[in-house]
Amino acid sequence: MFPSRRDFLLTWGLRGCGVLTASVVLMILGFLLRESLPTISRVGIDRFLGDATWHPSSGAEGGQFNLVPMIVATLLTTAGAVLVAAPVGIAAAIFSHYYAPRWLGVVFAKIIELLAGIPSVVYGLWGLTVLVPLIAQWQPPGPSLLAAVIVLSMMIVPTIGLFASAAFQSLPIEHLHAAAALGLSRPRFILSVALPASRSGLFTAIILGTGRAIGETMAVLMVAGNVVQTPDSLFQPVRTITANIALEMAYAMGDHRGALFVCGLLLMGMVIVLVAAADRLGRGGARA
């Protein structure tokens, strides 16, 4: 292959595309920092953690910038959703691979795929008009931590299910043959071979589900009630970091706007930690 002039153009054109693509992430980080750093330096990190409450609209001096209740709300909704969705999602993948008759497994996998494609605003609409009234009948007021956990779990079960399914799919066929030769029963095979062997894939699935739960905005905004408080029961309304940005961005000015970008930076930090964890796991799995 002799390098011609046009190949030269091609190579550099494509490298340009690569640079542009890679720079999107850097630009996102850069703009989050540019908008939030002045506010951070004026307000100080300790006030984001120690102020009495969240009242950022009166500026750096008069305002209150406590983000802790919202961070707690984000962690609680995410943890709750992952605790519910991880076993359910993995069980769903086990079902379609090892329990369902072939046709049912295919249909069920398709259902999971379609569930993954339902827009978050539709989950939110369903949560708002069906789930929240049901919870309100049982334990008023209805919009609550519980509603957020339920809707979020429903949203990340397909995510975890799809990736867990891919993990089972990539198990070496020899494992199946060996299990068949040993006459292993189905539960024995699942518990002692399939689950341990696809461990790293399953953890990756859970991490990706966690990322989706942390970042989810609309569905949570529609069902969680959005009161800034640290909840002491499942039935109290909460406001997550994502919902806070979506609610206040429309009218935020000055340091209030800056504080919302601090929230964005916080989310971005959590995502980067999760991606790094998934990356380590992925490589660990490849080595094993």
Binding site: A22, V25, M249, M268
Partner: protein
């Protein structure tokens, strides 16, 4: 129910194709004879039943409540009375325009990057690793953060304001990872012989790429594109502060335009008595996504058959 699934039943009714494919064949002392086995089977079957039940519940809810709103005028009229009456014509137009901008911006960049990752950097050098790593992070960035970025960069720094252009460009950044992954897979699936054959004939790599590899990779690109459109169509949080809330018919790409998902959100959260119309819009959105899903399956399957027949 679980009885029909015991291995004995499976081998008797002869429907199970385990012997022919990668399906497990379990020992005779199987599933339901032990207590843990019974528990596991019950748990797995009930999870499947619950997940399918919830799916049917949501879909039935959207269809039953949305169907009464659907009519020809719903698609052709402008919203009146904050969306409680009238239709969604301008919203559909804005949605299509935002998608159009996103596609026009994302496809050249995405295909270029995919070609770079699949063809040009043969070995994984630091540059390819950097691009890949940043795509992994990009795929995980929450949509609301894309909204913040789009607002700060496209709306304010570039001075585009709340406009269809800002929204479309923000979405373009968002769908890049999906588009690139699918396109790269499509390009990698093109048989190696195409390249070596072209090289043996003395055809330049540029020509090989344009005339052989890219045309053969079109199905992969289409799948990536359609998946990206699906994600873009479902997006709300990234668009509220970039393409905005205005529900008039957009006059140009510099006008603000409200997309379908933002319309659903606004009707259900901010407009008392808007639920009925929100369900109508949600039904339209679900139908559009369903069409997209069918296109992906169709192209994907044709593609598989194509590669199977050529190899």
């Amino acid at each position: 129910m679980p009885d029909s699934n015991s291995p004995e039943a499976r081998s008797k009714d002869g429907l199970d194709l385990s012997g022919l494919s990668a399906r497990p064949q379990f020992g005779a002392a199987s599933a339901l004879t032990t207590i843990p086995g019974l528990l596991l089977a019950t748990a797995v079957w009930s999870v499947a039943a619950i997940v399918s039940g919830l799916f049917l519940w949501i879909i039935a809810d959207i269809v039953v409540q949305g169907l009464p709103s659907l009519s020809w005028t719903f698609l052709t009229e402008s919203p009146r009375n904050a969306g409680r009456e009238g239709g969604i014509a301008p919203i559909i137009v804005s949605t299509l325009l935002v998608l159009g901008v996103a596609i026009v911006a994302a496809v050249p960049l995405g295909v270029g990057t995919a070609v770079l990752l699949a063809e040009v950097t043969q070995t994984e050098n630091w540059f390819a690793r950097l691009v890949r790593r940043s795509l992994d992070v990009l795929a995980g960035v929450p949509s609301i953060v894309f909204g913040l970025f789009g607002n700060a960069f496209f709306c304010i720094t570039l001075g585009l304001g709340f406009s269809i252009l800002s929204g479309g460009l923000t979405l373009a950044c968002m769908v890049l990872p999906i588009l690139i992954r699918a396109t790269e897979e499509g390009i990698r699936a093109v048989p190696r012989e195409y390249r070596s054959g072209a090289a043996a004939l003395g055809i330049s790599r540029t020509m090989t790429l344009w005339r052989l590899v890219l045309p053969a990779a079109v199905p992969g690109i289409v799948v990536g594109l359609v998946l990206g459109i699906g994600r873009a169509l479902a997006e709300t949080a990234a668009l509220i502060f970039t393409s905005g809330y205005v529900d008039r018919m957009p006059g140009s790409l510099f006008d603000s335009g409200r997309v379908l998902s933002v319309h659903i959100f606004d009707l259900s959260m901010n407009v008392a008595g808007g639920d009925q119309q929100a369900y109508g819009a949600a039904l339209i959105l679900i139908l559009m996504l369903l069409v997209i899903n069918i296109i992906v399956s169709y192209v994907g399957q044709r593609y598989l058959r194509h590669t199977a027949s050529t190899s």
